[in-house]
Amino acid sequence: MSPGGGTRQQQQQQHPRHQQAVYTNGHFDKQTDPDSDEFDGDPGNVPVMTHSVADAQAIYYGGGQQNQHGGRLRYDDVVGNGLVDEANGGDFIQDDEDSELEDPEDEDLEGEEMSAEDSYEETDSETGSSVISWVSWYCSLPGHEYFLEVPEDFIEDDFNLTGLSYGIPYYNEALDLILDIDQEEPANPACMSEIESSAEILYGSIHARYIITKPGLHGMLQKYLEGVFGTCPRVYCGALGALSLLPMGPSDVPGEDTIKMVCGRCGDLYFPKEAKYQSIDGAFFGTTFPHFLWLTYPDSLPPIVSRSENPIQFLRPPKMELGRVDDDENDDEDFGQDKRSSSSDEQDSRGTDDDSDDPLTYRIYQPRIFGFRVNERSVVGPRMAWLRWKDVVDEDGPRT
C-alpha cells in the first residue's frame, strides 16, 4: 500500500521544514485578497489541496466500508448504536465503568512510561528480536492510546519520510529501531537513549503524516467513534457524551508544543483531561489532522441544530442564547418546577423542552444572579459571548 501521489505531495508541502519554501516561493505573496488564503472547500481553488480533497471524497462517498449505510456515517448511527456512552457527560454518574474520567491527579504515568521503554530494550537484547513490533509496543504504552499503528510499508516507503532525516540525530538507527531491523553492530549503549528518543520523534513525525492519508483518517475515525478521545469539557458541547474531540498540535514542529484537544462544535482548544496525555508532543498529530478528518467525514460531527438568528439582534438584551426563539420559557423551567424529572422517560427522545442536554442544540451559557440575566453593562456582565457564537445550521432538526 502506498498513498496516491497527490497525497504525498501535499504531505511534503505540509511538513514544517518545507513550509518556509512554500512561503518564499511566493505562494502567499501572490495572494492579494486577504480572504483568499482560506480554504473554501472547493478542490479547484487551492492547488495544495487538489488531490487530497478528491481522495477524501472518494473515501467518503465511495469507500463503502465505513458502516452499514454504505459509507455514509450519520450522527444517528454514532449515537444509536451504543458507541456513545450516554451516561458519560450526563449528570450524576453512578458507576465507574469508564476510566477516562478518572482523576488526572492520581495518575502520573511518565515514570511508568520510562520503565516500559527500558523493559522493551531488555527483551530486545535478550532475545535478539522482540515479540511484538516496535510500533505495536510503542502504541500500546500507557498514554499512547491516541496513536495509530502506522503500517510498516508506509514507513518503508522513502517518499513518506522525505525531509525527516534532517534534524533527527541517529536517523538511520532510529528508523531501523522502528522497523525492527537488527543492527549489524549493536549500537553504543551510550547512544541508545538518544536513538530511542530519535525513534520517538521520527515515529511521531511519520504518524502526523500517516493520519492525514486515507487509511490513516479512517483509522483515526474508528478511534474517534469508539470514544477514545472523549467528550468536550464544555457543558453545552459534551452533553450526553456527544463525540466532538480530536487530538491536534498547535505546531507542526516537534518539541514546540504539547498535544491539545480540539472540539468540532465550539471549535476551541482544550487540555487533554488525563495527565498521561498532557506531555505528548502535539506535532505527532499536527495542526491539520482534526479539521481534515471532519472535512472528510462531515457526518462524524453531531449537526448543530438551532434557529439562525441575527447575531447583533440576539446579543441585544434580553436575548443572549443561541437557542430557539422561545428560549426564555425553557430557561425559566430550569428554575421552576422540576419538569425534567416528571418527563424523565422522554429525556432521550429528543422531544423534551430542555435544550441543555440535547447534544444537537448549540447553546451559550447565560450568567444569572437570582434568576435574572446579568446586565451586559455590569462589571461581571457577559463580555465573551462572541467567542461561542456559531453560524448554526437551520436544519429540519428533531424538533421544529
Partner: protein, 235 residues
C-alpha cells in the same frame, strides 16, 4: 416545625460540628466550604427547606450532631441522605452571604475548584456553578471567569455533587463582590487551519464573531494583527 428545630438547636448549641467535619473530609467534597455553625442554627436561614427535604428534623439533628442514636438502619440511611441534601441546600444559601463568599474566595485563590480546560485561558482558576437551583437536576459545573463558559468537572468524584448546592447565582455574585478577581479577558481565539490555510466556513464565522465582539460593551478589543506564525493568533 418550630418545635423540632428549636429542640435540635438547643441540644446542639454547644456541640462541635463533627458531622460537618466528617462531611467536609469526604473525597470529592472539597468544593464545599464549611458553613458557620451559627448560620445553620439560625432558623431564618433555613426557611422553606423543611418542605423540600424528607426527614428534615432528623437530618437537621444529624448535621448538628444532636441525633439520638435510636434509628433503624433503613431510616438512618435515608436520614444520612437527607442530611447531605440539607447541608447542600444550606450551603447554596451560605455561599452567597458575605461570610460564605469570603470562604470561597480563599478556596478560589488556591484554585481548589480546578482550572479552566481551555488552552487560551491559561490555567485560569474556576468557580463551582449550578445550572439549576432545584436539587437533583444537574451536577456541579465549573464557571471560568475568563472565557465566561461552563465546563464539566474532570474528576469523576465531582460528578456526583449536586449543582444546586452551589446555585446559579454564586459565581456571578462572587465576582461582583470581588471585582479584582475578574481576570483580563482576551480577544485571542483558535483559528483552525488545513495545511496552513484557514477554512472558509470558519473564517466567515470568525468575522461574525468579531462583529459581535465589537458590538459588545466592555468586550476585549483585538490586538494589532501579528505575523501568522501560530494557530493561536489573535484575530
Amino acid at each position: 416545625m418550630d418545635d423540632e428545630i428549636s429542640a435540635g438547636s438547643s441540644d446542639s448549641a454547644e456541640s462541635t460540628a463533627y458531622w460537618i467535619e466528617w462531611f467536609q473530609s469526604l473525597k470529592g467534597n472539597e468544593f464545599y466550604c464549611d458553613i458557620d455553625e451559627d448560620y445553620i442554627l439560625d432558623r431564618f436561614n433555613l426557611t422553606g427547606l423543611n418542605t423540600e427535604i424528607p426527614h428534615y428534623a432528623l437530618a437537621f439533628d444529624l448535621i448538628t450532631d444532636a441525633l439520638e442514636d435510636d434509628l433503624d438502619d433503613n431510616t438512618r440511611v435515608e436520614v444520612e441522605k437527607s442530611a447531605r441534601q440539607l447541608y447542600g441546600m444550606i450551603h447554596a444559601r451560605f455561599v452567597i452571604t458575605a461570610r460564605g463568599l469570603a470562604k470561597m474566595l480563599d478556596k478560589f485563590r488556591h484554585a481548589e475548584f480546578g482550572r479552566c480546560p481551555r488552552v487560551l485561558c491559561e490555567n485560569q482558576p474556576v468557580l463551582p456553578c449550578g445550572l439549576a437551583d432545584t436539587p437533583g437536576i444537574k451536577c456541579v459545573k465549573l464557571y471560568c471567569p475568563r472565557c465566561e463558559d461552563v465546563y464539566s468537572p474532570v474528576a469523576r468524584r465531582h460528578l456526583a455533587i449536586d449543582g444546586a448546592h452551589f446555585g446559579t447565582t454564586f459565581p456571578h455574585l462572587f465576582l461582583l463582590a470581588y471585582p479584582n478577581m475578574i481576570p483580563t479577558k482576551s480577544a485571542k481565539r483558535y483559528t483552525p487551519k488545513i495545511f496552513g490555510f484557514k477554512i472558509h466556513q470558519n473564517a466567515k464565522e470568525q468575522r461574525r464573531q468579531d462583529e459581535i465582539r465589537e458590538a459588545t460593551p466592555g468586550a476585549p478589543r483585538s490586538n494589532p494583527p501579528t505575523t501568522p506564525a501560530s494557530v493561536l493568533d489573535s484575530p
